[in-house]
Symmetry: C2
Subunit: 323 residues, 2 copies
């Protein structure tokens, strides 16, 4: 373990992922190795603009040397209009090793910290692409490029608002957001389906089978999405072959998840040649679920850890800043 003195001596710069509902900070040495971490639940939604600096100092002050400026690279909602200071969206196409060119620097009362808020990406509607925005995910994509320089291919970041991005030689050329996670949560918790669904476990063969079947059905007929939603309720009332209790609710949940993810994949995979593997960036469990769904409709997938990606992206931005 480092003592704080040793840490302050080794500290080179600080990386922060500042989202809507929480933030995480990493202390890094001159080799971009993590030497300390901290986190808090003070996300954008619970902070006024003039409260960010104090919260940042509260988290990182144990790491700081007595003197000398420290660069702080921040991605995520802290750079939104309703955050600390707006870092305007960069329009695609955007080279992911150039994100720091769109960074803004809020004025701090304490000048030891030099804060850079990274921008998000935006896309204007065209014949082939929708209006779209991302903020935070671009840094995870930059992490993919840090990991695989000049990466080309399709990357998916599952979540409340799942993002699919097409990269060409390290540049985002287009992206599309799917409301999948939010749709699932609303339907599972607030619709008539709440009486029928519980929580699923795709390690259970019956859940896994229900999930895959739902993905396949929606892939074959996406226009049946809203009728298959109601069918979950009717199936709960009528299907004598379903198990009872928690196993029943778990199977119907797996089916609901398969419908929501299947609809997303069917839309997203239109823009990709099959057999090109999709890079999934995010937590292990959710990416494993997406991988099963992708495999069911004929796509391969590989996984990059979401935390590792955001940190690698912040490192790339820091390198560009200091290059």
């Amino acid at each position: 373990m480092h003592t704080n003195d040793a840490l302050a001596h080794t500290l080179a710069w600080i990386a922060v992922d500042w989202g809507s509902s929480n933030l995480r900070a990493w202390a890094l040495d001159h080799h971009d190795q993590v030497i300390a971490e901290a986190s808090s639940d003070k996300g954008m939604l619970s902070l006024k603009p003039d409260e960010y600096e104090a919260e940042l100092r509260r988290l990182v002050s144990p790491w700081l040397p007595d003197s000398g400026q420290i660069e702080v690279m921040i991605c995520g909602m802290a750079g939104a209009r309703q955050g600390w200071l707006e870092a305007a969206y960069l329009p695609v196409p955007t080279a992911l090793d150039q994100l720091s060119q769109g960074a803004v620097m809020p004025r701090l009362t304490d000048t030891q910290l030099r804060v850079h808020l990274l921008p998000g990406l935006s896309q204007t509607r065209s014949a082939t692409h929708p209006f779209d925005v991302m903020r935070g995910e671009e840094t995870q994509l930059a992490g993919l490029v840090a990991d695989t320089p000049f990466f080309s291919g399709l990357a998916c970041l599952p979540g409340t608002h799942a993002k699919w991005a097409t990269l060409e030689a390290g540049t985002v050329t287009q992206f599309t957001t799917y409301l999948t996670g939010e749709l699932y949560q609303l339907l599972a918790n607030q619709s008539v389906l709440k009486h029928s669904v519980g929580s699923d476990d795709l390690n259970d063969p019956a859940c896994c089978e229900a999930f895959i079947a739902a993905v396949s059905e929606i892939h074959a007929a996406p226009e049946t999405f809203s009728s298959r939603l109601f069918e979950l309720r009717a199936q709960d009332l009528l299907d004598g072959r379903l198990p009872s209790g928690n196993a029943r609710a778990a199977m119907l949940s797996a089916r609901l998840s398969g419908l929501a993810i299947g609809l997303e994949l069917t839309g997203a995979c239109r823009i990709s040649a099959a057999n090109e593997p999709v890079t999934l960036i995010g937590n292990q469990a959710l990416c494993q679920r997406y991988k099963m769904a992708l495999n069911a409709v004929g796509f391969q997938a590989r996984h990059m850890d979401g935390d590792a990606a955001v940190l690698a992206g912040l490192c790339l931005a820091h390198q560009a800043l200091t290059a």
Copy 2:
């Protein structure tokens, strides 16, 4: 105006549409003409089984003669398992002039009223049809058959859970429920889109155009549904051509409505030959919205008033009972 004495003298039977959140009752004469109406907000969700009789008597007692039994035909959720007494679903195919054969009679403390609770319809999953249930809408469909004996064709009942039924010579052969209305309400009121949408008015040309465009886009590519949902939010952030204030929220609402209804129509119209007009049963404003959407994707529509339909269906059931 009838006095109560004159009314009691003329009363032949009573019709009731008893839903989840309210009920409506009609007094009818021997020619099935309405001679009085009453309503209350005591729907299934606010009543225990032993409270239905008192609520019914409270509403209809001013109509009753001093003696003589009165038949009461009731459709809707009062016949659900969690209602007054369960009238088990009739499996399709079901001839709509035979609904009263599945009616059940709850035991009443006051024997002047003879109550018949009509059944709903159910459908087991097959290669072509989903599991499905309806309760209440079957009586509106019976009203269509009362209006057009041996009706064949496709009927749509828009609403929270929109129903599409295929009729052949007065018999429901299959039906499918779409979660459209509930999906719209959840998205408009509880999702990230709540910041962008308001209430629309399809008499406004800009709203009408946004609605039709959304219907057409989803009809062409239903797999884009969940990405087009998020696009509404991005469009609100990025689209400089949108009007501001209420006009902006109205246009985005019209677009959300078009996406939800468009997805439903794309699924439902798979089972119908184009050029066969769809019979829309429901309130004027919602049916007009559906008619615009149907026209946009090449279908014709005609309208039957929802209140008239349920009453005609209850009359048909009463006639079958007394035939």
